[in-house]
């Protein structure tokens, strides 16, 4: 909390975060929803406008920095998280957002992703997951489902995809949430919760690419099927889903099971994103169709000191105990002689 700057001169609105650049995504792209929700969420945050920083890598997702009227760095492929880490360490008072895609973040940038999660740098990372390389026109990505045909897997992919939540939580992420690109309220809420979380927050957006993977998330996100195929997690509440909330999750042996709730059943799991033990969070993140509904909302949100806070605490401590007021004191410390 201490790193927040809460002296807002004037109330910002969504429009304050709209840049003068024309937005160039394909009509109907899921990225538009993310941009709009991000601008709305930015306007509700307590930071001064000049203390916002957007950092992106390369790919369709990463163009978003040009459309957000904040300080921004459109960096190089895979490296947004590394750039953002350096920025956050340099100026911990900044409100730093990273925009990346499934290729940018999970393939070429995978190393930076896991290390950010491990260190718990206070970054908010939005992964636009459309399960394909869009900008380079249709190659398999690390989240391309097995069996899907792509330009580089014309006979269908035979690779095992990453589950982003599993990687993030496995690497030590203290905040992981998943949202479909068409649920505005949930996305905005999750963005705000990520903002308030002190540490690495990872938000996976199931994003539709109208050109290469149109409808890839439809089974999960469409109006007709979402009640049965999504479970939206709420802190402290039983994990239930279905049109009539008639189904729930319970533990059966060593695994999670989706089942009809019988009258008065007490064995429905109650969600606790704040549990330090990541076992259940991993299980929830990994749920997939058809056996389970796909978990949405905040799967994990645990307390832990952020990396930049630890770094600056150490610096403050060392400066306060330092023998050296300036470089001259340092240079003349130890064994010197005069000529």
């Amino acid at each position: 909390m201490e790193t927040d700057v809460k002296d807002i001169p004037k109330k910002l609105t969504r429009k304050d975060f709209v840049s003068d650049q024309a937005v160039r995504w394909c009509p109907g792209c899921g990225d538009f929803m993310i941009l709009a929700n991000m601008q709305k969420a930015f306007a509700q945050m307590d930071h001064k406008k000049e203390n916002f920083l957007s950092v992106s890598g390369i790919g369709c997702s990463s163009r978003i920095t040009y459309y957000l009227d904040t300080y921004g760095i459109h960096s190089i492929h895979g490296r947004a998280i590394a750039v953002a880490t350096g920025a956050k360490l340099a100026k911990p008072e900044l409100n730093v957002w990273v925009f990346t895609g499934d290729g940018d973040c999970m393939a070429i940038g995978g190393n930076h992703f896991i290390h950010a999660c491990r260190r718990n740098v206070d970054l908010n990372i939005i992964v636009f997951n459309n399960r394909i390389y869009g900008m380079t026109k249709g190659q398999s990505s690390p989240t391309t489902p097995t069996g899907m045909k792509t330009k580089t897997a014309p006979e269908g992919s035979y690779e095992n995809p990453f589950n982003i939540g599993e990687v993030a939580i496995g690497a030590g992420a203290t905040f992981f949430a998943r949202v479909p690109d068409n649920d505005h309220a949930l996305m905005e809420d999750v963005m705000m919760q990520a903002y308030h979380h002190k540490g690495t927050s990872v938000i996976e957006v199931l994003q539709n690419c109208v050109i290469f993977t149109d409808g890839i998330h439809e089974q999960i996100t469409s109006k007709d099927t979402k009640h049965d195929n999504q479970v939206v997690l709420e802190q402290g509440k039983p994990i239930i889903f279905g049109k009539e909330k008639e189904r729930g999750l319970r533990v059966n042996g060593m695994k999670l099971e989706a089942a009809k709730i019988k009258n008065g059943a007490s064995n429905v799991l109650v969600h606790d994103a704040t549990e330090q033990d990541s076992l259940m969070h991993l299980a929830l993140a990994k749920m997939q169709l058809p056996e389970h509904p796909v978990a949405m909302g905040i799967i994990r949100k645990t307390d832990s000191v952020s990396y930049e806070k630890s770094t600056h605490r150490a610096i403050e401590r060392e400066v306060s105990r330092s023998k050296f007021k300036n470089t001259s004191d340092l240079f003349k410390s130890g064994n010197t002689w005069d000529i």
Partner: protein, 615 residues
């Protein structure tokens, strides 16, 4: 054995301490350097130790050495050949005998020349006894046994006692060079302040060595090296990596910016990362990244945020950073990359020196990607050039590569601590008008540098990135003419920095027969060779040494035009010579190159010059 070969007064002398990795030779050498500095000598040192953390004991491969040249005159190299060789075991003798001068002195711990150690060093007979060392002056100093004798009342175990024998050797050498022990004892007291028993053991051993040399009169005469005529000031010994780290701290202080260092460990650059990690007490923000790419990218993030931002590495790491350096170039942000070069390609000779990353620094990026390249030429001036790299980066909104190398990184030389106001101010271009009049890629017309605005500066919110920018506005554009114009602006911006760097100077003849050209760390050997020839009456040679590589100093062409012949000396296959051929093609350049993972020897350069003058 020859008698009394040592002069009582020498202008300069080379001493090499050599023993097993565990014998404490680096510490011994370091303390002798300190005492020599106090005695007013100029000096240069170099360590030489096995790459393995624990090499086999007693083997030639496990020998660790420390070489120092001290002088009453200016000293630029640790010396080609050794006057006094201290050997703590047979392996150390084996490893170093070939660089001992004819008539030189060997101080040997005779007690360690036993059958077992002789066998480990592959000696069939004991060289101290078989006459094979007859051309040298051999002093048998029973360091092991006399140290044990001196320490017998302290109640230490055998192994602990024998660990102090390096101080016995230091005592012997201290006597030989007429150095009183007070300063060395003072150093020991600092070092072992919390370990009184070890302090006592080391003091006793040091005194025992001194007394042994004094009472046995083995040397005939002791040597006096008069103080060198150095500029007045406060001095300390410093190695190149510490000096580079401190130059950055000074630049941060003088510019009023915080220092951010983002690096990944790599030999021989890691000590800069270590030193600044320990300098949290000076406010340094240090990030040990997960890889070289993350390190440079984090540095870019910190630079955008307004800090003096630096990444340090060696050649292989610099390769990994090259894409991101392109981002820093097109974004036009201040960034310092220090490359402590080592012998390559690939893992190459990771602990050995070479100047072979010059091409990489100049050209190793995709696209038209010019940046500033400067190089340090001695351990102590790594301070000045890391300061200069920071100054130029921040004043001219550009990445700067500073080249050091393994030889400078681990060598030491006395450094005169700069007084207040001695370093050039860092004058970051300011934009003092309202934010509405500012555009991200508008420039200071004189030098074409951008105005550095960072998160936290209200009203200046803007985006940077890897895509081509529209002139002034910084908006994205694919316009053909704009790309060409921006390419030329970025090139011209670097070229104009020539106005903000010192002019090149020439030592010796200012015109005439032969110009010797060097750059970076080969300064020591070349300047020593040239000054020895000048002192010998040679009137036809001049020497010019480059620290500013890109851009070149403005008067380079003028200097070159005054000589009949130019020889470029460098530790690679001719990279600087080739660079000069493209920049100043009207001159012809001869090359003198060495690629052995070793610095130049003064004698090699001298021979090359004499050869050039006589053919």
């Amino acid at each position: 054995m020859t008698e009394k070969v040592l002069n009582s007064e020498m202008r300069k002398a080379v001493v090499r301490f050599s023993g097993d990795s565990g014998d404490g030779m680096q510490l011994t050498g370091d303390m002798f350097s300190q005492a020599s500095g106090w005695a007013g000598n100029d000096l240069t040192t170099t360590p030489d130790f096995p790459a393995e953390i624990r090499a086999p004991q007693g083997s030639v491969g496990g020998v660790s050495s420390f070489q120092i040249q001290i002088g009453g005159t200016e000293i630029y190299t640790p010396g080609d050949q050794v006057d006094v060789l201290v050997v703590m075991n047979p392996a150390a003798l084996k490893a170093n005998i070939r660089i001992l001068k004819a008539g030189g002195t060997i101080i040997a711990d005779s007690g360690s020349f036993n059958t077992r150690n002789l066998k480990k060093a592959d000696y069939d007979t004991n060289p101290l006894e078989d006459g094979s060392l007859s051309e040298f002056h051999v002093i048998e100093a029973p360091a092991t046994s006399l140290t044990k004798e001196a320490l017998k009342d302290l109640g230490l175990e055998n192994a602990a006692m024998s660990r102090s024998k390096n101080m016995f050797a230091l005592g012997v050498v201290s006597f030989l060079f007429s150095r009183p022990l007070e300063n060395t004892i003072h150093l020991l007291e600092k070092k072992f302040s919390s370990k009184p028993l070890l302090l006592e053991a080391n003091k006793l051993a040091l005194n025992a060595g001194f007394s042994f040399a004094e009472s046995t009169e083995v040397f005939g005469a002791s040597i006096v090296i008069p103080p060198a005529k150095l500029p007045k000031g406060t001095y300390r010994n410093i190695d190149g990596n510490t000096a580079a780290a401190w130059g950055l701290l000074a630049a941060a202080e003088n510019s009023g910016r915080k220092l951010s260092l983002s690096s990944y460990p790599i030999t021989p650059a890691s000590e800069i990362l270590h030193e600044l990690s320990a300098r949290k007490d000076m406010g340094a923000i240090v990030f040990q990244a997960e890889d070289e790419i993350a390190a440079v990218c984090a540095a870019i993030g910190a630079a955008f945020c307004g800090n003096l931002s630096v990444t340090t590495t060696s050649g292989p790491g610099a390769s990994l950073k090259s894409e991101a350096m392109g981002l820093a170039i097109i974004s036009e942000i201040p960034l310092v990359l220090i490359n402590v070069q080592r012998a390559g390609p690939s893992t190459g000779l990771p602990t050995k020196t070479e100047q072979s990353d010059l091409n990489q620094a100049l050209y190793g990026r995709h696209g038209e990607a010019p940046l500033v390249v400067i190089a340090a030429s001695s351990p102590d001036d790594c301070f000045f050039y890391s300061y200069e790299a920071s100054r130029i980066a921040m004043e001219h909104s550009t990445p700067v590569i500073m080249l050091s190398d393994s030889y400078l990184a681990s060598g030491t030389s006395p450094w005169r601590i700069p007084g207040k106001g001695e370093l050039q101010d860092i004058d970051i271009p300011q934009f003092n008008k309202p934010a509405e009049e500012w555009e991200p890629y508008m420039r200071n017309p004189e030098f074409l540098n951008r105005f550095w605005k960072s998160p936290g500066d209200a009203g200046f919110e803007h985006r940077i990135g890897g895509l081509e920018k529209k002139e002034n506005t910084g908006n994205l554009t694919y316009e053909p003419d704009n790309h060409e114009k921006m390419t030329k602006i970025r090139e011209e911006k670097i070229a104009r920095i020539a106005k903000r760097i010192p002019e090149q100077t020439v030592t010796g003849a200012q015109s005439g027969r032969l110009l010797i050209v060097g750059w970076g760390s080969s300064h020591g050997a070349i300047s020593t060779a040239v000054s020895e020839l000048l002192e010998g009456g040679e009137e036809h040679i001049g020497f010019t040494h480059f620290n500013y590589i890109n851009p070149l100093p403005q008067n380079t062409e003028e200097i070159f035009s005054k000589f009949d012949e130019i020889i470029v000396c460098e530790l690679n296959n001719g990279q600087f010579a080739n660079y000069l051929r493209t920049k100043l093609p009207q001159f012809s350049y001869k090359q003198f190159n060495k690629v052995k993972g070793q610095p130049f020897f003064t004698s090699e350069i001298k021979a090359e010059i004499i050869n050039a003058l006589t053919t």
